[in-house]
């Protein structure tokens, strides 16, 4: 028993101070490298999600523009059609153009509500960089 302890002890004791310093240096260096790799990996994943969200953002932007413009065009066309039919140029066009705009805003609001739900479901409520809550 004392022999074994001695053996191990001497094994450790044989590590001279310089060797020990070198060993610890290696360990801390390894730790640093690991941290770097981990940080890199985290950044990669974040950048990937970021790029994906940006691609989605562009798609969403196009969607909003189409929702708004589509309704204005349809409203205007209905107005022109009714004017042409009833001979009330240009009053119904003006009226339906404005109504079309209202419908467009309604479309955008509805699309936004759906979008919000979708994004919340996808990211678990975390969009972009998280900001700590005030409370």
């Amino acid at each position: 028993m004392p022999d074994a302890a001695n053996g191990r002890g001497s094994g450790q004791r044989q590590m001279s101070p310089e060797e020990k310093a070198a060993f610890e240096g290696r360990i801390s260096e390894l730790g640093e490298r690991l941290d770097r790799v981990k940080a890199q990996r985290g950044a990669d994943a974040e950048a990937e999600l970021d790029a994906e969200m940006r691609g989605r953002g562009m798609a969403y932007g196009m969607r909003m523009a189409a929702e708004l413009v589509g309704a204005v065009i349809v409203g205007g066309l209905i107005g022109i059609g009714l004017d042409w039919w009833l001979g009330t140029k240009p009053w119904l066009f003006l009226l339906f153009f404005v109504l079309g705009f209202a419908a467009g805003v309604l479309n955008v609001v509805r699309a936004y509500e759906r979008m919000q739900k979708e994004i919340m479901a996808r990211t678990g409520g975390k969009i972009g960089h998280s900001v700590p809550d005030e409370d």
Binding site: R63, E67, A71, L99
Partner: protein
């Protein structure tokens, strides 16, 4: 500079004329046919084994099925599964057309509004027919939101009707505009590379637009999928309105 619009030109391959109507088999028809054949071929080959433990191809087909089925079930409930064939066909057709368009030299069918408008009109008419068939006059409740004072109700109903009628417009414009804009941008950046290479010392700058073109290609692949997804998602939502009007 190469013309960025040239890629969207339609030219007849087999001219056909029926009673004065030009119904030629064009390059657009060719790529639609290719998309359909590719899709049908893929599903026939991948599902041939029908094993309990799927092969790689089979799981690809199953993932596609699960993806669309999940989307439809989520937005319309179980009642919507009746329209699964329509929704699945729309998704796969648009997705394959978009993706084929990403191959250089290929024609992008979905970059023409006549194609996307036809698809959107199909969805719109399906919603109308299904809505009236399932709910009768109650379908019109879609245009009458609850809790609106009677005084402004006519105005609100008018706005709701215009909003409803604008659906096929935005539905089709979105897909077509995305594909058109994406392909033009790609072509323009590709053109910059060629122009810079032929501009003496400025040729050193040529890698810059090339890098941009590479990045844009990646983005376009994402857009190609996303737009197919968005089109299908909206189809599901509109079907939901037809099945359950009033909320």
């Amino acid at each position: 500079m190469p013309d960025p619009i040239h890629q969207f030109e339609i030219h007849p391959i087999v001219p056909i004329n029926i009673f004065g109507w030009d119904v030629s088999f064009t390059n657009s028809s060719l790529f639609m046919l290719l998309a359909v054949l590719l899709t049908a071929g893929f599903f026939i080959v991948s599902m041939r084994t029908r094993s309990l433990v799927p092969t790689r191809l089979q799981s690809l087909a199953e993932v596609t099925y699960e993806f669309v089925a999940g989307m439809l079930r989520e937005s319309t409930g179980h009642a919507g599964m009746q329209y699964f064939p329509l929704v699945f066909t729309l998704f796969v057709f648009i997705f394959v057309c978009n993706m084929m368009g990403m191959i250089p030299g290929f024609f992008t069918v979905t970059s023409h509004i006549v194609v996307t408008a036809a698809l959107a009109a199909l969805v719109f008419l399906t919603v109308l027919v299904v809505g009236f068939a399932k709910n009768g006059v109650r379908f019109l409740k879609l245009f009458v939101p609850e809790g609106v004072p009677i005084v402004i109700l006519p105005l609100v109903v008018l706005i709701e009707v215009i909003s409803f009628l604008s659906r096929p417009v935005s539905h089709s414009v979105r897909l077509f505009a995305n594909m058109l804009a994406g392909h033009i941008t790609l072509k323009v950046f590709g053109g910059f590379v060629v122009m810079l290479l032929g501009a003496g010392t400025f040729a050193a700058l040529a890698p810059l637009p090339l890098l941009m073109a590479v990045a844009l290609t990646a983005l376009e692949v994402l857009v190609a999928f996303l737009q197919a997804y968005v089109f299908t998602m909206l189809t599901c939502m509109y079907l939901n309105d037809a099945l359950h009007p009033g909320h």
